[in-house]
Amino acid sequence: MVVRERLAGEKLAVELCGIALETPLIPASGTLSKEALGEVGSVYGAILPKTTTPRARAGNPPPRIAETPAGMVNSIGLQNPGVEKFLEGLDAFDLGVPIFVSVAGDTVDEFVALCGRLAGDPRIAAVELNLSCPNVEHGGLTFCAGPASAREVIEACRDALSSKPLFAKLTNEGVVANAIAAEEAGADALTVINTIPALTIDASAQTILVRGGLSGPAIKPVALRAVYDVSRAVNIPVIASGGVSTGTDVAEFMLAGATAVQVGTASFVREPEEILSEFSEYLDRMGTTASELTGAL
C-alpha cells in the first residue's frame, strides 16, 4: 500500500452517482431527527431524513422498541407528517451538504406521485425508495418481496423522477435477485439492507413485546454479506446499511464494495463523529483513501 499525503478532504471524499460527498457517511433513514442535527456537525456527506409518505402517518402504538443482544427491534410504523409538511420543514435539514429524501407509498401510484412531487425540488439531491414497506395491492408483501414487484415500482419511479438519482433500498431476503432487477429497472444506486424481520417476547408478562425489524451491530455480518454479494452482481454503486457502529465497520463495508455507508442505530449510542474519526485513522494507518477502498478486497 503506497502511503500518500493528501488533504483531509480528499482522504474522506467519495462520489456517489455524480454527487460529491465530503465523507462516505450518511445517516440511515429514520435514525436522525431534526432535534439531533446539532450533534452531527460535518460528519455526514449527505443528510437523509426519515421516510416520508403521501399522507401523515401516526405510526404504531407503543411499545415500539425492544433491546436485543447487540441490537434492537423496532416497529415505528413510518410515523411522519406526510410529504407536504415534510417539504415545508426540509430546510431544517440543510447543513450545507446534499439532502437525500426517502419515500414510501402503499401502491406503485403513490410512489410515483411522491417522486413526481420531489422531482422538481432543487433542494433534493437524490431520492431513496424504501421498498421494504408493504404493498397493499399485493397482499401486504413488501415492494422488494421479489424481482417483479421491485422492477415495477422502480421503473415507474425512474420516469417520474426525471434526472434525479434514484436509490432503491432493499431488504436482505432475496437481495441479489432484487438488486439485479433494480439495476435493470433503472436504479442509480442500491441501499443494502433494511432491518431484518424479528420478534421480541416478554417472558415474564408472556406477551409479544415488539414485532418489527432487527438493527444494530447484531446484523452487521448479514449486511456485509449482502453488500458484498450485491456489489459483485451489479454495476451501480451500493450504499451499505446494517449495523455500522465503528470506523472499522465502515472500512469493512467499503472493502465489501460499498461506495457510501449509512449509520443508523449505532448513532443512538455513539457519536457519529467518533465513527468517522476511527475510519479516518484507519485510512491513515493503511495509507489509503475512502474512494480507493471501495471493493479493494
Binding site: 435514525t31 439531533a36 401523515a56 402504538p61 407503543p62 433491546e67 451491530p217 443512538f268
Partner: protein, 244 residues
Amino acid sequence: MKFHGVKIEDREWIGGYTLIRYRWDGAIEPGQFAMARVAGYPVTFDPFLARPFSFYDHDGETASLLFEVRGRGTALLDDAPDRIEVSSPLGRGFRINGANGPVALLGGGIGVAPLKVLSRRLDALSVPHDVFLGFADARYAAVAGEFPGAKVATVDGSAGVQGTVLDAAPDLTRYTAVYACGPNPMLAAVKRAAGEDAFCQLSVEERMGCGNGSCNGCVVPVRDGGYVRSCIEGPVFDAEALAW
C-alpha cells in the same frame, strides 16, 4: 448521541433503590432526565442501549440518580465500579405555574425519583407542597425518609396506609397544581383524581432508544391524535394533552 464519562462519587442503597452521585455542574430542570449506561462502547455492544433516568437531585455541583434494579441495564449500573457514561440533561421537565400553592407531588414506586429535585425547586420558590408516595412494600417505602412529612401507602400495608398512592392522598382537586410520576396506569388515575380543569403534570415512562428524538420509539398517544415523543416533547406532559 454524545455520552460523557463521569466518576461515581458515592453509591448508597436506600430501601430497594440504588442512589449514585457524580460531579456535574450543568443546569437541570426538575423532571429532566439522563440516558445512562456503563462504559464500554465500542469494546462491547451488549447491552446495546442506554437507559433513561430522571435526575433525582442536583445541587449545582453533584447530580444524583435513584434507580431500581429491574434488568441487565440497571444491574450493570448497580455494579459499575466507578465510572458510568451519561448524556444529559434531556427532555422537558415540570413547569411551575406560578400559583402559590399548595401543590401536590405524587410518586408511585421508582416514580419518586424526580420529586426530590422538584420539591427542592418548590422550596426555593417558597411554594408549599405535600408529598404522597406509594410503594409495593415497606422495603421500598424506606426511601420516603428522604421526603420529610411525606404520606406513604404500600400495596401490602407494611408501611403507611394500605393501598396505592391515591389512598394516601386527600382530595386532589383542592391543590393548585398536581405533579406525578409513576407507572402509566397510576398516572391515568392521578389525572382522573385531579379533575378536568386541574393544572396537572405527569412524567411518563416509555422505553427509549435514543433519547434525542431520533428513533420515534418513546411515544405516547396525545389527545389531538397520533403520538408524540416523550424524550423531546416530554417526559413531562400536561395531563390534558395525553390521550389516556
